[in-house]
Structure formats: structure tokens, C-alpha cells
């Protein structure tokens, strides 16, 4: 193995020694778990940040003693300063969008299961794969450094709009090195994601087992494939944007900074740049990013729903085509984030239509899921509960898109809590439901042990109800014009509504606490859970045809041959009401159907 060329790379010796096995492992399964662990750390960090923000928002002058220990400038005497609120807000957004929503459903599960589900021994380029994880990790480290520099993380929000983010320290605390660290971190993250996406695409195209035609790939594999195509484009655009931003900050260029800006009484030494350029580049990435977050969860949920329904979807093809068209359309809609940004009003209309059009494939998906439930025999377990919850959340978050897709309505609702409620439900909660479902579903395969169903169900109820309690009120508050990104509500008209924000804060605290159940369940079941059989869910796809957990080379050197579509449920199979993809037997339709 000394000559590390890409050709033979997807075949490697069994890992020996701790470092090779668990740290710099080439095994896509280990890498998948590493991504999952990183996402887990990031998501709890992000959640605690949101707790702090919620607390501060409704009790702006209350003291949070521990916070002062953490940052003296950020919370003198324990009272959070306005800029520190914005720092937390920025870090919350960045961590959640990049290190959770991109990592968990896509990089983590994709890495672990994509190769197995197509019958491959590993990714096409294991070294790239390892590199992309450790680059992601580096990006995370760089980002977290911002917490430990004197004036803290940046305060410009996760969108880092220029010129605020481009002019350096004059823009306020955190905009000196904090913002630079942000830019560097995201640039690194782009490289990592590009490597990852490249790997996914090459693997899907070239390492499929005999008989595994594209149309025989499980829906989550399809979702990961489509997602990596989106990611390849999106991050390839964000990367240059970050480079230009860093140059504006440190090399005195003026890509995003116009002339004659006076910030903190200082005339800025820049000329001619265009702030809108950043917004265009950023949202050209930013909107597809939403689908990078949600598509994998759509796939995972479909995969799990079929299994728990014990019958195929109305049409897997339609699901695949819908996901493709969503991915395709996602590139024509970025402008709907900029309706009130001074972009040509004509183009606002031009962006409005594809945005509304995206709801068509989205609705197709929803109706397919709903329609498939009809006449099924749904097995309820933590996984399927979260999958069903996903549908509910996806609808809830989706319908509010109707409002924001229309420029005329956006004039009123833009930058209000309505938007916050919308994207948290559809992009945040919905795709996290996909991740939860995936975890409960695949944990047995990943660790060889079952998770506690009782805890899992409890976790579901808290999260499901909690999420609605948190994010539904946001829509209402948006309707009365409650502006987002405020550290406290000083506007007179907000006074009567603080109560609702208190309610949301309590809901957030409880729901957040519920997530520790999940964490406990993960850790406890990992060591004390009861051993998992090879195929606990009577599932059909290839990952269930190998031991739990799989050997380092997945199929023990054998090369699986695929005979069927992925979802042969509700049939008379030798093992029961299903036929696995790699079993040569004929599929006999179940009686009575």
C-alpha cells in the first residue's frame, strides 16, 4: 500500500493499530462515525448557544454567572452584551448550517451507508475521504478558536453580509480576527465538502455492485448522490467568495467594499466594491445549501418509511425525479433571499416564479409519502415515528414558503420571525428529524447494538411537540412584524408579545433538555444495548445483508450481486413479507394484493 494512488485506493488492507483504525482511518464507516461525532458536538454547542440567546432575549439584563467566566468582555458581570448576543447568533447559525445540517444527514450517514448500499467495499478515494473529514475538523477547530480570542466571534450573522464583514475591526467587536477566522474556517470547509462530494459521485457512478443499476439504488443513496451534485456546485462558488472576502479584509482589495464608507468615524480606505456581489455569491451557495440539508433527510425518511410501512412507495421513480428537479431548481432561486436588497425589481419577479415552482416537486414528494401510507401496515418504532414526524414538519415548514416566495409579501415579512420560523422548521427541525430517524434505524448496524426504544419514543414526543411549540409562535410573531436578530425587544409594539417569547424560551429549554435523553441513549446503548441481529427491521437493502457491525471490508471480500429493486416489501419472500436485494429468489406478490 505504500504507493498511495487513487486507483487501488478503494481496496486497502485491514486497518492495524489504534491510529489507523479510529483516527486517520481510511474506512468509510469509521469516517462516517467521525462525521457523526463532530456533528453531535456541533449540534449540542449550537443548542446551548440558542439557550443562552433565548434566555438573554427575554431577560436582557439578567445575570448568567458562568457566562462571565467564559467571556469577560462578552458578559461583564454576567450580563450578556449586545455584541456577544450577535456573536452567539453567528456561531449558532454557522455551526448548525455547516457542521450539523451539512455533516450529519449527508456526510455522516452518506459516508457510512452509500458504499454499503451500492455493494462497494469503500469509497472510490479513501484517502480523499479521510482528508475531507480531517479538513472539516480543521475548519471546525478554526471556527471554535473565535470563542477564545479576546473580542470573541464575529457579529455579522452566518450570512456575513459585506461590507460589515469585510471592513475589519471598525465594524465592531468580533469583526477583527473573529470574522477572519470565520472566513478561513468556511473556506476550509468548502474544500472539505468538495472533496467529499467528488468522492460520493465517483463512488456512486463507478463502484456499484453487479446488478445494482442506478434505478435499483435505495432512495437515500439517490438523495446522497443528488445532494453531492448540488454540493459540488454550491461549495465551488462559496469558496471563491470566501477567498475574495479574506482578501478584502487583509489585502486591502475592494471586491465587496464601496467608496466613501465612514465607519466608527474612520473613512474606509476602499473604493468601488459591490456589497450585492457578496450577497449574490453567498446565496448562490446559500439556497442550494438548504437542499443539501433537507434532501438527504428526504431520502433517509423515504428509506425508513417504506421499511416500516411494509409496502413499497407509490412510486420510487417519482421520488427520485422530484429530488432531482428540486436539486436543479435550487439553483434558480437564490435571489429570493434578496427581494428587498435593492436588486433590480424585475429580477425579483424572475426569482419568484422558480421559487414557487419548487413547491411542485416538494408537494409531489409529500403526496407520495402520504398516499403510500394509505393501506400500509405501519410499524411504530422510534425510527418510523421520526420519519412520520418529518412529513409533518416538512409540510409545516414548507407552506410558509408560499409567503416568502412572493416579493410583495416579502416586503412585509422579510427579516421577521416568520422567516426564522420557516427555515428552522423546514431546514433545521425537518432534516434533524431525518437524522434522528436514521440514527434509530441504523444504530444497530453501526454499533451492533439496539437503541432503547422507550427512551427513543420519549425523545420523539418531547422533540415533536417541543419543536412545534418553539417554531409555530415565530410565524405569528412574524405576522405582527417582530424583527429577527434583536438581542432584546426595545420596539414599543413588541411589549405585549414578550410573553410569547417567554413561552418559546421555556419550550426551547425543555425540548433541548429532551435532546440529552437522545445523547444518553446513544452512549448507553452503544455499550449496554442488547446485541443487534443482522437485519433487525426485516429490511431489504444491502446494508442489512451483512453482519452488524459490518466487517472492515463490508462484504468480507465477497461481491454482492443485486437481483431486485430496493423495496420488495409486502411480498411472499423466503424470510417473510420481504425479499432482499441480493437474494436470487423470485418475487411472489403477496396474496390479497
Amino acid at each position: 500500500m505504500q504507493e498511495g494512488s487513487v486507483q487501488e485506493a478503494h481496496v486497502h488492507a485491514p486497518p492495524e493499530g489504534f491510529i489507523r483504525k479510529y483516527v486517520f482511518s481510511l474506512d468509510h464507516k469509521v469516517i462516517g462515525k467521525q462525521y457523526y461525532a463532530l456533528a453531535l458536538v456541533a449540534v449540542f454547542t449550537g443548542m446551548i448557544l440558542s439557550w443562552l440567546m433565548r434566555l438573554h432575549m427575554v431577560w436582557p439584563n439578567s445575570k448568567i454567572p458562568l457566562l462571565e467566566m467564559f467571556s469577560k468582555n462578552g458578559a461583564p458581570g454576567g450580563v450578556m452584551t449586545p455584541e456577544y448576543y450577535l456573536s452567539l447568533l453567528t456561531m449558532h447559525g454557522t455551526l448548525m448550517v455547516f457542521f450539523v445540517l451539512t455533516n450529519a444527514p449527508f456526510a455522516a450517514f452518506g459516508n457510512y451507508f452509500l458504499p454499503i448500499q451500492i455493494g462497494a467495499e469503500d469509497m472510490a478515494f479513501p484517502r480523499f475521504n479521510m482528508m475531507s473529514f480531517w479538513t472539516t475538523f480543521a475548519a471546525w477547530v478554526v471556527l471554535m478558536l473565535a470563542f477564545f480570542i479576546p473580542d470573541g466571534p464575529p457579529i455579522a450573522g452566518w450570512t456575513e453580509y459585506t461590507p460589515l464583514s469585510a471592513v475589519g475591526k471598525d465594524a465592531g467587536p468580533g469583526m477583527a480576527w473573529g470574522a477572519s477566522l470565520w472566513g478561513i474556517s468556511i473556506a476550509i470547509f468548502c474544500v472539505a465538502s468538495l472533496l467529499g462530494a467528488l468522492n460520493f459521485i465517483a463512488t456512486t457512478l463507478d463502484l456499484r455492485a453487479k446488478g445494482m443499476t442506478l434505478m435499483r439504488m435505495p432512495l437515500c443513496t439517490w438523495a446522497w448522490f443528488v445532494t453531492s451534485c448540488i454540493a459540488l456546485l454550491a461549495f465551488a462558488v462559496l469558496f471563491p467568495a470566501c477567498i475574495l472576502l479574506i482578501l478584502d479584509r487583509h489585502a486591502g482589495t475592494s471586491f465587496f467594499i464601496p467608496s466613501g464608507l465612514v465607519i466608527s468615524d474612520r473613512l474606509q480606505p476602499h473604493a468601488g466594491g459591490s456589497p450585492l456581489l457578496w450577497q449574490h455569491l453567498f446565496w448562490f451557495f446559500g439556497h442550494p445549501e438548504v437542499y443539501i440539508a433537507i434532501l438527504p433527510s428526504m431520502g433517509i425518511v423515504s428509506h425508513i418509511l417504506v421499511n416500516s410501512m411494509r409496502k413499497p412507495l407509490l412510486s420510487a421513480k417519482v421520488v427520485i425525479y422530484s429530488m432531482m428537479s428540486i436539486g436543479f431548481l435550487s439553483y434558480m432561486v437564490w435571489g429570493h433571499h434578496m427581494f428587498v436588497s435593492g436588486m433590480n425589481p424585475m429580477s425579483s419577479l424572475a426569482f419568484s416564479f422558480p421559487t414557487l415552482t419548487i413547491t411542485i416537486p416538494a408537494t409531489v414528494l409529500t403526496l407520495i409519502w402520504l398516499g403510500s401510507l394509505y393501506g400500509a401496515n405501519i410499524q411504530t418504532n422510534s425510527a418510523s415515528l421520526f420519519a412520520l414526524g418529518f412529513i409533518s414538519m416538512f409540510v409545516a415548514g414548507g407552506v410558509s414558503g408560499f409567503f416568502l416566495a412572493q416579493p410583495s409579501i416579502d416586503i412585509y415579512l422579510h427579516a421577521t420571525y416568520f422567516v426564522v420560523g420557516h427555515f428552522h422548521l423546514v431546514m433545521g427541525v425537518a432534516s434533524l428529524f431525518g437524522v434522528f430517524a436514521g440514527t434509530y434505524f441504523w444504530f444497530p448496524k453501526m454499533t451492533g447494538r439496539m437503541m432503547s426504544e422507550t427512551l427513543g419514543k420519549l425523545h420523539f414526543w418531547i422533540t415533536f411537540v417541543g419543536a412545534y411549540c418553539i417554531f409555530m409562535p415565530f410565524h405569528y410573531l412574524g405576522l405582527i412584524g417582530n424583527v429577527r436578530r434583536y438581542q432584546s425587544f426595545v420596539d414599543d409594539f413588541m411589549a405585549p408579545y414578550i410573553g410569547w417569547h417567554k413561552f418559546v424560551t421555556f419550550a426551547a429549554l425543555i425540548t433541548g433538555a429532551g435532546q440529552f435523553l437522545f445523547l444518553f441513549n446513544l452512549i448507553y446503548s452503544r455499550f449496554k444495548g442488547k446485541p443487534a441481529p443482522e437485519n433487525p427491521w426485516n429490511a431489504t437493502s444491502l446494508e442489512w445483508s451483512i453482519p452488524s457491525p459490518p466487517p472492515w471490508n463490508n462484504f468480507g471480500g465477497k461481491h454482492p450481486i443485486v437481483y431486485h429493486d430496493p423495496y420488495q416489501y409486502g411480498v411472499n419472500g423466503s424470510k417473510g413479507d420481504f425479499v432482499m436485494q441480493d437474494s436470487p429468489e423470485q418475487v411472489v406478490p403477496a396474496s390479497g394484493d
Binding site: 452584551t81 449586545p82 455584541e83 450577535l86 457579529i155 455579522a156 453580509y161 461590507p163 465594524a171 465592531g172 464601496p258 467608496s259 466613501g260 464608507l261 466608527s264 468615524d265 459591490s274 450585492l276 410501512m309 411494509r310 409496502k311 412510486s315 417519482v318 428587498v340 436588497s341 435593492g342 425589481p345 414557487l356 413547491t359 411542485i360 403526496l367 407520495i368 402520504l370 398516499g371 394509505y374 393501506g375 401496515n377 411504530t380 415515528l385 409533518s392 409540510v395 408560499f402 409567503f403 416566495a405 412572493q406 410583495s408 409579501i409 416586503i411 412585509y412 427579516a415 411537540v465 412545534y468 405569528y476 405576522l479 405582527i480 412584524g481 424583527v483 409594539f493 403477496a590 394484493d593
Partner: protein, 266 residues
């Protein structure tokens, strides 16, 4: 478990709809000439979106109720019509919705952005800066003094960087921290950002427009109701963003002229 989920889903649908149906959260009174179009649009969309939301949740609930953990051997059925129905339904339902909302719904947008301000509209320059709005009236000569960024001196209340020493136009410019406009007169707001991106948002006016540094935009509106309203910033602009606000005073023509005189006197 399935039945419980069904019940919860129905509860969620009902409880989510309740505050809307009960008008617990209503838009502030509209004081603009174009606002009603936006309000109608929001109302129609709320109807369509709300119905689809409730319908979807309830259908989900019904199916979950009916088809969960059925006793062994109970036959699996397929939705009559299968995928075709779903796809057609989606295209018809949403397609029409898209058309309805997309095409009909642009009235307000057109009114705000595609109709030029009337020639007799009052021109007021709005400058957004960290973290306040300042408004400038041209004064008797009807001319604005030029902005000299290098001459901006906030300590001396020279927020626009005027140069009265060398420019006559600048001497009679009136600068105010409050936006005062006469009722039922069209106002054209010339928007200038001093430092970073900001946004001009008056809920009652149904107006929201970003200030983009280096790109001077303008919006025009007609306020139809005398009163005091809040202007807030909706574009994250730094540590004081939450506290970046000003007031809009809509006055009768007489009061407006009186106010201008007072200001000029200072």
C-alpha cells in the same frame, strides 16, 4: 402509539390554526396607499397555505390512525390511482396556486417598484448609519448640499458631512432624527448608507427596503393616517442593530410646515 400520534397531529393542526383564525396576531393597521394589496396577498396566501397545512396534517393523522400496527394478515392496499393521482394532484393544486399567487400577487410589488414617484413627491434623504437614521430636507432652496464623507462629524451633529462653509446649498438643509411627512402627500425617500448595510422598515407603511452602501436606492410611499410610527432597521448592521430605530411622524400639512420652520430656526 400510532393512534396517539394521530391525535397529536390533529391537535397540532387545530392549535396552530387557532391563533390565526381567532385573529390573535393581526398585522398593524395599514397607513399606506399600496399596503392593502400586500395585506390581501397575505390573507389569500394564508388561506391557501393554512388549508394545505391543516389538510396535510389531518390526512397524515387519518392514515396513521388507520394503518398503524394492523393485525397480522390484514391486506395491504394501494392508494387508488397510485402515483399518477399524487403527481397530477400536485401539479394541478400547486400549479394553480403558483399561478394564482405568482401572477395575481404582484400588484403590490408593481405599485411599489414599477410606478415612478409623482413629480411633486416630497424628496427626503434618509441616511442609515450605525446605529441611527437621520433624515435630510432640502430646505427653502430645494437643493441638497453634497455629502462629503471626510467632513462627517457626529460630535458636531454633522451626520451628512455637509460643508456649509463653502456650499450655500448645504446651509439651509434641515437634518432631523425623526422622519416627518405630511399626510396624503407622496414622499420619495432617497436612501443613503453611511457605513454598512441597513434596512428601512415601517410595519404600518408596509415598506421594507435595504440601504446598500455605494448604491443609493429610493422608495416612495404615501402615508394616509396622522400619527407616530416606529422605523426600525431589519438588516443586521452591528452591535447596536436591535436599538437602531427612529420615528415616523405623519402630520397635517400645516403642522408639517410649522415643524419645518421650527427646524430651520435652529
Amino acid at each position: 402509539m400510532g393512534k396517539a400520534l394521530a391525535v397529536v397531529l390533529v391537535l397540532i393542526a387545530v392549535l396552530s390554526a387557532y391563533p390565526i383564525v381567532m385573529h390573535m396576531f393581526v398585522l398593524p393597521e395599514d397607513i399606506s396607499t399600496h399596503g392593502h394589496a400586500i395585506d390581501e396577498q397575505i390573507h389569500d396566501t394564508m388561506l391557501e397555505a393554512g388549508l394545505s397545512f391543516v389538510a396535510a396534517q389531518i390526512v397524515l393523522a387519518i392514515f396513521v390512525w388507520g394503518f398503524t400496527n394492523r393485525k397480522a394478515g390484514s391486506p395491504l392496499k394501494n392508494f387508488p390511482g397510485g402515483a399518477k393521482v399524487a403527481v397530477i394532484a400536485a401539479f394541478v393544486l400547486v400549479g394553480t396556486e403558483v399561478l394564482a399567487l405568482g401572477v395575481m400577487g404582484q400588484k403590490a410589488w408593481a405599485q411599489v417598484y414599477f410606478t415612478p414617484p409623482r413629480p411633486d413627491a416630497i424628496q427626503i434623504q434618509a441616511q442609515a448609519e450605525q446605529f441611527a437614521f437621520y433624515f435630510r430636507y432640502a430646505g427653502p432652496d430645494g437643493k441638497f448640499g453634497t455629502i462629503h464623507p471626510d467632513k462627517i462629524d457626529e460630535g458636531n451633529q454633522n451626520y451628512f458631512g455637509l460643508d456649509p462653509a463653502n456650499e450655500v446649498e448645504a446651509r439651509d438643509d434641515i437634518v432631523s432624527g425623526e422622519l416627518v411627512v405630511p399626510v396624503n402627500r407622496e414622499v420619495q425617500l432617497l436612501m443613503h448608507a453611511k457605513d454598512v448595510g441597513h434596512s428601512f422598515y415601517v410595519r404600518e407603511l408596509r415598506i421594507q427596503q435595504d440601504f446598500v452602501p455605494g448604491l443609493d436606492l429610493s422608495v416612495h410611499f404615501t402615508a394616509t393616517k396622522i400619527g407616530k410610527y416606529e422605523i426600525v432597521c431589519t438588516q443586521l448592521c452591528g452591535l447596536g442593530h436591535y436599538n437602531m430605530k427612529a420615528y415616523l411622524s405623519v402630520m397635517s400639512q400645516e403642522d408639517y410646515e410649522k415643524w419645518l420652520k421650527e427646524q430651520a430656526a435652529q
